[in-house]
Amino acid sequence: MNQSHRLPAGGRIDRSRSLSFTFDGARYSGHPGDTLASALIANGVHLVGRSFKYHRPRGILTAGSEEPNALIQLGLGNRTEPNIRATQIELYDGLVAASQNRFPSLEFDLGAVNDTLSPLIPAGFYYKTFMWPQRGWMTYERAIRRMAGLGRAPDGPDPDRYEYRHAHCDVLVAGGGAAGLAAALAAGRAGARVIIADEQAEMGGWLLSEGETEISAKPAVDWVGKAVTELAGMENVTLLRRTTAFGYYDQNWLGLVERVTDHLGPYAADHLPRQRLWQVRAKQVVLATGAIERPLVFAQNDRPGIMLAASLRSYIARYGARPGKALVVFTNNDSGYRTALVAHQAGIGVTAIIDTRMGAVGPLPQAARAAGLRIYEGHAIIATSGRLRVDGVRLGKLAASGDRIEGSGFGISCDLVAMSGGWNPNVSLFSQSRGKLDFRAEDGVFVPGQSFQPLRSAGTCNGVLSTAECLAEGLAAGAEAAREAGFANRKPAGLKVTEPECPAAAPFWLAPPEKPLARAKCFVDFQNDVTAADLKLAVREGFQSVEHVKRYTTTGMGTDQGRTSNVNALAIVSATLGQDIPAVGTTTFRPPYTPTSFGAIAGRNIGALFDPVRRTPIHDWHAAHGAKFENVGQWVRAWYYPKPGEDMHAAVNREVKAARTGVGILDASTLGKIEVKGPDAAEFLNRVYTNSWLKLGIGKARYGLMLGEDGMVRDDGVTVRLGEDRFLMSTTTGNAATVMTSLEDYLQTEWPELKVYLTSVTEQYATLTINGPKSRELLAALTDDIDTGNEAFPHMSLREGNVAGVPARVIRISFTGELSYEINVRASQGKAVWEALMKAGEPFGITPYGTEAMHVLRAEKGFIIVGQETDGSMTPGDLGMDWIVSKVKPDFVGKRSLARSDTVREGRKQLVGLLTEDRKEVLEEGAHVVETVLDKPPMAMLGHVTSSYYSPNLERSIALAVLKGGRSLIGKTLSVPMPDKVIRVTVTEPVFFDPKGERANG
């Protein structure tokens, strides 16, 4: 095994097993427990990517999810995923990873010319340069995107499964480090339902990387092990590893993404989802999200081999890797010394400790001195060198002011630089929860202030630094949260901790570079290539708000949301403006905390589960008989039934003809049906329909038009009176639920005095409509207890009896103008009755017809379809339906609006018919109608075509339209301008067939 940079012992890796992986085609090995980042480091690979804008060589900066540099293209084919942080990728055997944003190779990248040109492309370069000509942006953008890209998205569909999971708990703990584990223990012991989530494979957080820390006189990792075992044993605790709390929303609702099988790569079991999106509603939340080490801003601080100091400790202690042989530590606080000592003990040569302070006296600096490490006090790095990896630093003595160097600098060789600028509490989730941040001036950090939701922060995310404080805060927060959620408990006993002392230190924002700042490349935001000079330029150019500086320079706008850069950027902007940091303000963190896959957000709402497909009880028959279907909302309805060799036009013509000459049969089961029951049922209908209902006889049917309060037509349908206090209302297919909601609204809130109950029975019945001159004979053939005679069973009436041997409600109504019966039977019997009708109808040439033929048939009669002839702006009068509006009722919904000045004015759009000069020409629905055709739009429009078909009964095209002052235009010739021609049309009455309506009564 060629793990040249693996320490001989130590770390939480399983050295008994080796895992093979490739990076940019080269084969390497690592161990279970490694991340891709730690395995690369163990193989001596530091150069892992090219930067976003300047294509500078970049290495691994951190050991956690805040990593801005090491963004990797992971996997192959449709499973490939871009921009994954190498620090979060758990190694598995056969892993394939590649670097991004380089051509032709990582070592030799042509895009690196941008780095040479960097003085020419400062902040705002794109805005300033690619503005003219404006349309040129389309071209520029493509080229810029190629140059300044990240990884590439897969081309094909995602082969993996993603699932959702709703969960409720008393206490949600975000973060499984010292504070989080302690909080979960306290809350769990109190009996609360606890969910604890941590983004890493192992709970423990920084404790896993801190070999020197002892809890209860044992190594800290022992305490982690015990805590996890205890939590796992509690039935009321759910432990979620590899789970990122990425979003904190209203009312303690948090989004978590659990990476269920990502760490298994191709070995994942098929039945498991790749990721699971947890939607957790927590009574109380404990944020234990830790802290992120702050980089120091100095010249060329971005070379591979320069990393955060605590992360270096993590690579040594947790992963048993040796990132280099000659270390320079650059620090403004004592924890840098801790790193130096850990490295020293691991056998890494510590070349120098460079401390921006003078006379550090803490135990760690003293230990470093005692170990004989070389310390430069009051110094700073002023330049670095090394093309693909750092090979030296130059340092100089800081003036007392800290903003310039005294005397000349000097160089030190090294292959590793660890920097420590202090710790930023990780307040992302707190900020997302709408909590207010407070600035703590002594060490320059933002800490959680007043919170908006029931939550508490504990541990380093709350601004404390020591493990002892983390545990104490965690225990207290967990206990309090449980108490608030209703679980009484005693104050938990404290834990004894032995650990190196690392007090907070005053911040150090910008090391003065040797070269002029504009050429020094002091990086603040590594992911977006923003330097201190860019920030100062933005301020010079007049940007004062941090939000504007952020957008202009793009600092903090990468996928890491500026996790390592925001506070440094803010401090540099503040200093440049000459203001305090709190006065300049901070930016707001937004979900997701780390990038979250679209797959997890989509979940299983894909394919057949994307949206419910509602089918009628007779659907299978339609499908078996070759029907083509159309979607009507969520319903699928039979559209037409082509015979072999027929196109849609031929099939629809045949169906339409049959329904007027023989008998057709339609599945109308999707119509909404509501049973209206109660002594005030008739009065209720009287109020919600425009016409009169009080005197409708039992067993009689009536058509009704329902308006909105604004007087506009909302729905229509036929209602039958089943008994003195019982009606069966039908609604349009699309409005069934809306009408129910509106009717319940009137009953519950407006007219609670009315004694009426509503029950939806839409799905209780299959509705089979037989239609045509032969339909009476067909019905008669299948019933023995309904007298089907014209007198005995007149138009607009109901009979109950048996049809095809099952109980049925038969309503004689017509939506086609033909003799027609609507047969309602229990849904479970619908298909059998349909089949019986088909069989009995054979002698009459029974023809099933679909929704298209239905539309043609009703259009021939000029019957409206709500939602087609109406669009929420048509009154009954506009539709020529004044006949259905009662003149005598004192009130009905919409009545007053029919007398508004706008509804009675001249020139409203009115429903008319249109006949084309060319009988074969079928207008397009939606086409505009004009009086005078101009060369090009705009033209004065009169209205538009709402319905248009070829009518086989009339052997010509017919159309309905709504036109301004339409009724006064009847007889006129108008024009319908189309892209390639102008169609001449004559305005007619909207009824084309059987205008006297004799056929339905026959």
Binding site: D250, Q251, R281, A737, T741, D745, Q748, T749, P752, D891
Partner: protein
């Protein structure tokens, strides 16, 4: 995501509800007596306060009851819920 405490079913996700707009609008059954302007006021004009607002909600995916809620439109918090016909409570907590 917001939850709304249905007066009957308790706290439920906002997905289960449909908003019905401003509460306590009085529909005049003898509206003929109203001027066009008065009627238009009832039909179209709605309060849009920053702060406390009495609203109508329908528990469409639950008990299918309409009810009223006082919501702070600024903080998006529900201060009180009450049944139709009941007076708006002194909501501010």
């Amino acid at each position: 995501m917001l939850t709304i405490p249905c007066p009957w079913c308790g706290e439920r996700d906002v997905h289960e509800f449909r908003s019905g707009g401003e509460a306590h609008l009085k529909r005049e059954r003898r509206a003929d007596a109203l001027s066009d302007a008065e009627w238009a006021d009832f039909l179209f004009l709605r309060a849009n306060p920053k702060g406390e607002h009495a609203e109508r909600w329908y528990h469409v995916h639950g008990c299918r009851r309409w009810f009223n809620a006082v919501r702070n439109t600024h903080t998006d918090t529900i201060l009180a819920v009450y049944k139709p016909g009941e007076a708006k409570p002194e909501a501010a907590q």
